[in-house]
Amino acid sequence: MNSILTYGILCEDAAHKNFITRYLQQQYPDQFLESAEFGWRTRASNAKEVGDSLVDAVRLGFTRFQLDVLFVGRDSDATDDKRIQSLIDSLHLKCGYHRPKVVLVVPVQCIEHWLLYLQKHRDNPVSTKNETLELIRRTEAKEMVYGPRKRDPDLIKSNEILDHLDSAWLEQYSKSFNHFHQQVVDFLKQY
């Protein structure tokens, strides 16, 4: 086993990449190292590119770039469990032989909904109100996180929220985050 695990990220935008990076740094400091070469060479910029390039990215990631683990980030753009599961199944299928070394990051609706939960928790840490924020429309959720009329993810705003990433808390409120987090936990059990 490598003492430090080399990872790559294939995701649809900077918000995903930032979330995954910050999550790994905070939850597992000194345990993961991003492959710099995979990082600059492989970059999708939308959901379709993630799906279409997954088969080849997985193959190259575990052969040429010698990754230990690949994180694949794609917004589900849905709230319906069946649709989300179907997306997860189709992504898994594309990973084929390498599936045990691939961690899927598929938030309900979009990654900003995870940020939104964390933002609410940061702003009101004692609240135990069980709100289902995932029903908020995607554009609205992004405005609530980044501010109005922001077209691109504002990573400064996002990092202000991620400074308070409480995984244990978020797991209880977001099923899709729990799915992601459990994959990482299970993956690490192999080592």
Binding site: W40, R41, T42, R43, A44, S45, K48, E49, D52, S53, V55, D56, A57, R59, L60, T63, G96, Y97
Partner: protein
């Protein structure tokens, strides 16, 4: 047709070899060496007369710095294999023909079979980079322009010549027909007199008469003059003129033929270039930054060359079929993985970075 070009020590091209096809596509980030490859070919053209040609000719090739090596292989009846290491310190060079290797010194070289074919190939070679902005203003006419220059700035003079000369009228008609086929809203080209102004005379000091360019929409009964036309339409017209000129280049070098053209029309332009290569026996080397153009090469990965620069600034070129798909397929078979899927969406695979040729 050029089959293989090897270049050493020309700008960023420290040591590259391209096994060329009839149509070739060069892709890679800005400043990765694609244009340097074109410039190397132009350099050969510009200095062709100085290259070793006969026993009587002395080598007078001059360039400072490192010795430049070109290796060019063509497929003419008398195949030519010439390696010319220019070393100005020693004035010595090597000539490799099909049958023998000759070492010559002091600038005197033996006869090289096949050289005339190669010379005619290079003579007409030009890097075409149409600049639609140069077509917006009126241009000089009456100068007998039959060869379009690299930025197509003499296009109005050229079209006027083709229209006015009875032996060239067929060329003009062909351009008009092709234009209508590709951009159906325009069914004619108009070249109209315009008064000469101080500004025009300053830009074209040798010009005496000037004309302006327009495209006709007969249905609407309107002529759209060049300053009312889109950059893409003007670019497309320039491309049609380049390939329909009376003596079209045998080797056509095109930089970004998709520039300013609507994505749906890009397919028409590239198909037009494919047709041209077949019908007129023209070899084409072009660059692109458009995934839509790259997509069109999914059936001919051997024609795609991927340019990248290393940390020292040297250009490396990979052939998509030979250097990427074949080795990765073999590796996948050995390991029991799925083979590469790049050709299902080649433009996307390139954009995502799976085949290289992307900026950092």
């Amino acid at each position: 047709m050029l089959k293989r070009v090897s270049i050493q020590n020309f700008k960023s091209l420290k040591d590259v070899t391209l096994d060329l096809q009839k149509i070739n596509l060069l892709i890679g980030p800005n400043n990765s060496g694609k244009t340097n490859f074109f410039k190397a070919l132009e350099y050969i053209k510009a200095n062709y007369r100085s290259l070793p040609q006969s026993k009587d000719k002395e080598l007078t090739f001059e360039r400072n710095g490192l010795p430049i090596h070109f290796l060019i292989t063509d497929d003419s009846d008398t195949p030519l294999y010439v390696e010319i290491p220019f070393d100005f310190d020693s004035d010595k060079f090597l000539v490799i023909t099909k049958d023998k290797i000759t070492f010559a010194g002091d600038g005197v070289v033996p006869f090289i079979p096949g050289q005339s074919e190669l010379e005619s190939l290079f003579k007409s070679t030009t890097i075409y980079k149409p600049d639609p902005n140069k077509l917006i203003k009126p241009g000089p006419t009456g100068l007998g322009v039959e060869i379009i220059n690299s930025d197509t700035s003499n296009l109005i003079g050229f079209l006027d010549r083709m229209l006015g000369n009875k032996y060239r009228k067929t060329v003009f008609n062909r351009i008009e027909n092709d234009l209508q086929k590709c951009i159906p809203e325009f069914d004619g080209i108009s070249i109209d007199d315009t008064p000469s102004t101080d500004e025009l005379l300053r830009i074209h000091p040798t010009g005496k008469t000037f004309k302006k360019l327009g495209l006709i929409n007969s249905k609407q009964d309107i002529t759209y003059w060049a300053d009312e036309l889109s950059e893409g339409t003007l670019y497309f017209l320039a491309l049609l003129c380049i390939i329909n000129q009376p003596n079209p280049p045998k080797l056509l070098l095109l930089e970004e033929p998709e520039k300013g053209i609507h994505p749906r029309r890009i397919e028409e332009v590239i198909n037009f270039i494919f047709r041209l290569a077949d019908e007129k026996d023209i070899q084409v080397i072009m660059t692109t930054h458009s995934p839509a153009v790259v997509d069109m090469f999914g059936d001919m990965p051997e024609s795609v060359f991927i340019f990248d620069k290393d940390d020292e600034g040297a250009t490396h070129v990979k052939n998509l079929q030979k250097d990427i798909i074949e080795p990765e397929t073999a590796e996948s078979e050995r390991a029991g993985f799925d083979p590469p899927h790049y050709l299902n969406g080649l433009g996307e695979a390139w954009k995502v970075g799976l085949i290289g040729g992307v900026p950092r």
